[in-house]
Amino acid sequence: MHGQTWPSVATTQASVLASDWRIFTIAGLAVAVLVWGLILFAMARWGRARRTDALPPQFRRNNALEITWTAIPLVIVCALFVYTYHAEADVEALATHPDVRVHVNAYRWGWTFAYTGGPTIDGTAADPPQMLLPLGRTTRIELTTSDVTHAFWVPDFLFKRDAIPGIVNRFDLAPDKVGTFLGRCTQFCGLQHAHMTFTVRVVPPDAFDRWVHGGAS
């Protein structure tokens, strides 16, 4: 089973999310290394200067420099925003005709997965439920809760969404890797929050079809 290790990026949406992570990590690390470098350089270069009576040059401002280091970051964050806007739209896009629909209800402390035209799976902390999904098909998740706010997170899909009373959150999952992936609640919901887990098992579509129409596990 995959879980609690480096995410396996197991849906098409997750691939978009992983690219977004990579861009932001690279940009972030680049900025961090640059600025750390400047700080450490200044400390090393002028930190061993002997303290003489003469003061160092007492400069206070440099308009060109200040404008530059305001404008360049502004351009960078605008570019990052355009990228992230499209990435999010991509991930949250809902297919017109999903192949599978699962209504997910989160509760204290377990999950119910009700497949439209299929079985209903329920499980709690003692015996976490398993959601079966077909490889290469689009599954629509309709997520809500019957009590407090919870959240549906599958780290290997790089995705989570809140389960909020009175609201049905809809999102699509299109798995592109077979395997069993750990899922859990992430919005603190009380005593058994730490154990409110589930698994998602991605199988080839024919195996899924056999299962959903009543029969083999």
Partner: protein, 542 residues
């Protein structure tokens, strides 16, 4: 300008004089010592949390105790330490920095302190009740915090305690702005104010705009719990997301309330130990207000996974905040550039602040991207992010402030050797604790979990984090030893032991009750420096 031999009686030092004081310096000391006490308690709670999480499926505490631990840890660190320490420091410093004898409303000032003290005690009193203290997190989300689910009186004590602290904060902010606007000494124009005072003005504006939303949220929750309200219950036409909107409309500005004063601290200390003026004074002031203004418009970046808010709006606004923050960083580095740097303990903590907060800021920009946040939200990645900004940032600035202003406040210097030990233990301990948490989050560990499975890298990363937290404990203990040792040694200091810049260094250490015997002329933001260097033009290069 040392105090002339004026015939004044030494200030009374009995308990009653401290309980009835309206002197901003004493109120500041009361705040800072009380917040350090809450820090010790909140830190102890964190050590229990880390001990529980050192190994998978551990049983040091059960889930209900664990929930109280992280609720009180967050509540105490945020409401009872980081923010009010800054308020205490500002209380001590603002009148001195602007050349005033006290705050505009001294009795209101004192009342705010007592409200703060009692509010915090009320919150903690919940721990002594049969169902325990509040256990819904410092964010106390409804519906979890409603009476049906959180039936204990501890939750109610949390609500009223936090409410009391919130009102106290608003009243104190009124004092800060009024004092800074009205009570400046001759020549202390707004554009000659020390950066710390400017940051406190911006912080006060944030307090005015943000805390009422929290007060409203708490009121609604109380009415829901006890007076038949259903504000957050969709079955009665309420809205569960409403709690989050109101809370984060307060909650995001609150984190800027917890960092802007410390940007001010850094801006005061770096110039002193670079022997240069602060670079880009105007830019720093404008950036402070840009950050404050923008911070009012980003709150729902805490709600990216709800599906109930316009993610792009909040994502864009959150990205924008990185720009003025970057401006500040570049100004600080430029202040050091070509200077004559020395690294006594206050400066070490400033360098630690810069290194740590930078990483926190970078991960902040990362989680401002909703696709990243879909993984990071409510995971240990975001726990790492906010500890790097609040712990690596604000906490390090608090220690910088303590070591820098301790001589002015108490008239004795803290020991340098112990100070350096304190810094390195905290710096190493802090990074060993929180760096692994980025990976824990990415690899699927949620926050607020009392335990986790023995899978993957979770056990080893958690163990490393726990060991780091014990190193931090050592650093805190060293600080306590330093305080005790220096108090026993009682080596007195003069007005200006560091060779500093702003007006508080123009009077004795500690200052007399009325603050100044005589004010120097004020022609720049560093009047004490100008006094030491009459050969230089104070207004050169402005």
């Amino acid at each position: 300008m040392s105090a002339a031999a004026a015939v004044v009686e030494p200030p009374r030092n009995d308990l009653l004089s401290w309980i009835t004081t309206t002197d901003h310096k004493r109120i500041g000391i009361l705040y800072m010592l009380t917040t350090l006490g809450y820090f010790a308690v909140a830190g102890a709670l964190a050590l229990v949390i880390r001990t529980q999480l050192a190994r998978p499926e551990n049983s040091v505490v059960g889930p209900h105790e664990f929930a109280q631990l992280f609720t009180l840890h967050g509540t105490a660190m945020i409401f009872l330490f980081i923010a009010p320490f800054a308020i205490g420091l500002a209380n001590f410093l603002i009148p001195l920095q602007i050349g005033a004898p006290d705050m505009a409303f001294p009795r209101l000032n004192a009342m705010g302190y007592w409200m703060f003290l009692f509010g915090g005690l009320i919150v903690f009193a919940g721990a002594g009740t049969s169902e325990g203290a509040a256990a819904a997190g410092w964010t106390s989300y409804a519906p979890l915090s409603e009476i049906k689910v959180s039936s204990g009186i501890g939750q109610d004590l949390w609500i009223v305690g936090v409410f009391l602290v919130s009102v106290a904060t608003i009243l104190t902010a009124i004092n800060f702005v009024t004092t800074a606007f009205i009570y400046r000494a001759p020549g202390m124009t707004m554009w000659r104010l020390p950066i710390f005072t400017w940051e406190m003005i911006a912080t006060s504006l944030l307090i005015f705009m943000a805390f009422p939303a929290l007060a409203a949220d708490l009121l609604l929750l109380f009415v829901d719990r006890h007076l038949g309200g259903h504000a957050f219950d969709p079955a009665y036409g309420g809205n569960a997301v409403l709690w989050q909107h109101l809370f984060w409309f307060f909650g995001h500005p609150e984190v800027y309330v917890m960092i802007l004063p410390y940007f001010g601290v850094i801006s005061e200390i770096i110039p002193v130990f670079s022997r240069k003026p602060i670079f880009g004074y105007t830019g720093l002031v404008l950036a402070a207000f840009a950050i404050a203004g923008l911070s009012m418009g980003v709150w729902a970046h805490h709600m990216f996974t709800t599906g109930a808010v316009n993610n792009p709006f909040f994502s864009f606004m959150s990205f924008l905040i990185a720009v003025p923050t970057g401006v500040k960083f570049f100004n600080w580095i430029a202040t050091m550039w070509r200077g004559q740097l020395t690294f006594p303990t206050p400066m070490l903590f400033c360098m630690g602040f810069l290194m740590n907060f930078l990483l926190g800021g970078v991960t902040g920009v990362m989680v401002a991207s909703p696709p990243v946040d879909f993984q990071a939200h409510d995971s240990y990645f975001v726990v790492a992010h906010f500890h790097y900004t609040l712990g690596g940032g604000s906490l390090f600035a608090i220690f910088a402030a303590l070591f820098f202003w301790w001589p002015k406040i108490f008239g004795v210097k803290l020991g340098e050797t112990l100070g350096k030990w304190c810094f390195w233990l905290l710096f190493i301990g802090f990074n060993v604790t929180f760096l692994p948490m980025h990976f824990l989050g990415i690899e699927g560990m949620a926050r607020r979990v009392s335990t986790y499975p023995a899978l993957g890298n979770l056990p080893i990363l958690n163990l490393i984090a726990t060991l780091g937290s014990y190193v931090m404990l050592a650093g805190a203990v060293v600080f306590a030893v330093d305080v005790i040792a220096s108090t026993l040694k009682r080596e007195p200091v003069g007005d200006d032991p560091w060779g500093a810049n702003s007006l508080e260094w123009a009077t004795s250490s500690p200052p007399p009750e009325h603050n100044f015997e005589r004010l120097p002329p004020i022609r720049s933001e560093r009047p004490v420096f100008d006094l030491r260097h009459p050969e230089l033009d104070p207004e050169a290069g402005r």
